[in-house]
């Protein structure tokens, strides 16, 4: 999926001039992008625009030439099931469900992975022993890893990660990035990571400074 960004600016705050706002650029399949900026520059807004949660912007975003404002509610639902996956900055796990249930909830929409595959992913991020613990009892770093596994348990052409490793130690970041990169290259997907500064040793096609 090619994403065309045409001079978008949020309407509810005025961002400083940057490589992202008010510019024309595109995000291409199989490419990796880093969106780097200080807190409050609009990284999450940019992700919310791409994920269809917020349309308070001027300019246009197109997926394969189609303006995203023209998508209907059922079309967005399909996009979120099959084409775009996200790790929210706030994670948005269900605290009352276990780690595994949180992942299965997403996975059951498309039955993309088997439980064994999910557990294998959890093992790689060292959260497999927490599979049956309630999400609210996990540390934020552990929750972040669960949220990453959840994001991988669906088909996608665009993977949005909003400060996904902020509370994870370097060893686990390395595990997580290798898993993410494997998945992204397997699917020839577009990867967009938002970060406050750290680039996590990933070889990006382009870094956008917001």
């Amino acid at each position: 999926m090619t994403i065309q960004i045409q001079t978008i600016i949020p309407t509810y705050f005025t961002p400083a001039s940057s490589e992202g706002w008010s510019k024309v650029f595109s995000l291409k399949s199989g490419q990796k992008y880093l969106v780097k900026a200080a807190s409050g520059s609009g990284k999450s807004s940019f992700f919310n625009f791409l994920y269809g949660l917020n349309n308070k912007f001027t300019g246009a975003i197109q997926f394969d030439g189609k303006d995203i404002l023209s998508y209907t509610e059922p079309e967005w639902t399909q996009l979120r099931r099959k084409k775009i996956s996200i790790v929210f900055q706030g994670l948005r796990l269900f605290p009352e469900l276990t780690a595994l249930e949180n992942i299965q909830l997403k996975n059951q929409l498309t039955a993309h992975k088997t439980e064994a595959e999910i557990l294998a992913y959890m093992k790689r991020l060292d959260v497999d022993q927490l599979a049956h613990k309630q999400a609210e009892t996990l540390s934020y770093g552990q929750q972040q890893r669960v949220a990453i596994v959840r994001a991988l348990c669906q088909p996608f052409e665009l993977l949005l990660l909003d400060e996904p490793f902020s509370h994870i130690d370097d060893v686990q970041i390395a595990n997580a990035t290798s898993l993410i990169l494997e998945e992204v290259s397997q699917r020839n997907a577009t990867l967009v990571i938002a970060s406050l500064g750290n680039s996590y040793n990933i070889d990006y096609t382009k870094t956008l400074l917001l």
Binding site: G42, S45, N48, Y51, L53, N54, E73, F94, K106, L109
Partner: protein
């Protein structure tokens, strides 16, 4: 799993409250409806006590007290009058004689009148006459039988008679008109509690008037009217102004009937009001259930669950509760039916199980209508909650 997740926030006590308010409203509505169906026969035409609100009027006694065509037309145009019928009488002298086997005979002068069939409280297929008919059916006031049984018969040493016997008494009518005299065989078909005269079929009266006294004009002596409320002051004013006379006793029962109808209407109104309130409560309850799960609903939606999938969890809850409420309401209806039955018997209505069938049909209709309404409302709420730009996430910059 989504259903389990959304149920986690819902407390049993809340669902119980939901079910109670719903049962209360539906129960009252169905009970009142059932009462309404059961008491309908009270106001129907077949009931003498409160049925057919009729008034018979005549003009003050004088030389010419017949009603003219214009006067009848004026009556018809009054908005408190539903139907107008006129009494016509025979334009000939009538002599009736009865001969009871072994008990000699009796003979008396009498009169005959007729009125439109729809005002007669007797429904019988033999109530008709044509020139080929062998006998003429006659309807007499029930009072006459009572007068005979309790007044005349004991003194004259004659046996008392009942409805069955009475129809077997052969009557000979001798009609003497201005140009002809004719004899007819007649029999008493039935007695009437409502109409205080000796009635023959309209066709008979028209025929005999024509044949026996072709030169005498047929006059309308009295007028019978079906009215909405015989105690209506407008109606009484109208009578007063035109010098029409009416029977006071008729107005008394009509007042009772009017009062009863008013009470029933008030009860039905209160029932509808309570039901409307309970539906509002149920809707508030649904809103609460949805609001409590606002965060979960939004997150599910953003994960890729459709509004339809999320809403269906709430639909199932409301259908189940609605179903249970309707069942409770129906049980209430059956219980109330047994409680009301003795009272309704006093009021001379036939309290049959038939009204329950109506109640069941209404219950099914209510279920469908309310289920559709709740479904629509839930869908709307969830759409509002998950609308673009209103999410919990847009607060993240």
């Amino acid at each position: 799993m989504i259903s389990d997740l959304l149920h986690k926030q819902i407390r049993f006590s809340q669902l119980l409250f939901f079910a109670l308010t719903s049962s209360l409203g539906l129960g009252i509505l169905l009970v009142v409806f059932q009462l309404f169906v059961d008491t309908q026969s009270l106001f129907g035409s077949s009931n003498d006590l409160l049925g057919n609100q009729t008034v018979i009027i005549s003009k003050a006694i004088g030389k010419d007290n017949a009603f003219t065509e214009e006067e009848i037309e004026t009556l018809k145009q009054q908005d408190f009058v539903k139907k107008v019928g006129s009494f016509t009488n025979g334009t000939y002298r009538v002599q009736g004689s009865v001969s009871l086997l072994g008990m000699g005979g009796m003979s008396t002068d009498m009169f005959l009148e007729s009125v439109s069939d729809r005002f007669i409280d007797v429904q019988d297929e033999n109530w008709k006459w044509s020139p080929e008919s062998r006998r003429v059916p006659v309807i007499i006031p029930k009072n006459y039988i009572d007068l005979y049984n309790y007044g005349f018969a004991p003194g004259a040493g004659l046996p008392q008679i009942n409805q069955k016997v009475i129809s077997q008494i052969p009557i000979k009518l001798s009609l003497t008109g201005s140009s002809k005299r004719k004899m007819y065989d007649a029999y008493i078909l039935a007695t009437s509690e409502k109409i205080n005269t000796i009635l023959v079929p309209k066709s008979f009266l028209e025929y005999t008037n024509q044949v026996l006294s072709p030169d005498i004009e047929v006059k309308i002596s009295r007028v019978i009217m079906e009215v909405t409320n015989p105690s209506d002051p407008k109606l009484l004013d109208f009578f007063e102004k035109n010098n029409y006379q009416y029977f006071q006793s008729e107005l008394l029962s009509s007042r009772i009937s009017y009062f009863l109808q008013l009470v029933l209407a008030i009860v039905l109104g209160i029932g509808i009001l309570i039901t409307a309130l309970s539906i509002t409560l149920v809707i508030t309850n649904i809103n609460l259930l949805i609001l409590k799960n606002k965060q979960t609903i939004c997150q599910l939606y953003f994960l890729g669950f459709s509004r339809k999938q999320i809403a269906s969890v709430y639909h199932k809850i409301s259908y189940k509760i609605l179903g249970v409420s309707i069942c409770i309401a129906l049980i209430l209806v059956v219980i109330c039916k047994f409680i009301f039955a003795p009272f309704l018997t006093i009021l001379q209505t036939e309290s049959s199980a038939f009204s329950l069938i109506y109640v069941f049909i209404v219950a099914i209709v209510l279920f469908v209508v309310l289920a559709l309404y709740y479904t629509k409302h839930t869908n709307k709420k969830i759409a509002q909650m998950t609308a673009v730009n209103t999410s919990l996430l847009t607060t993240e910059i």
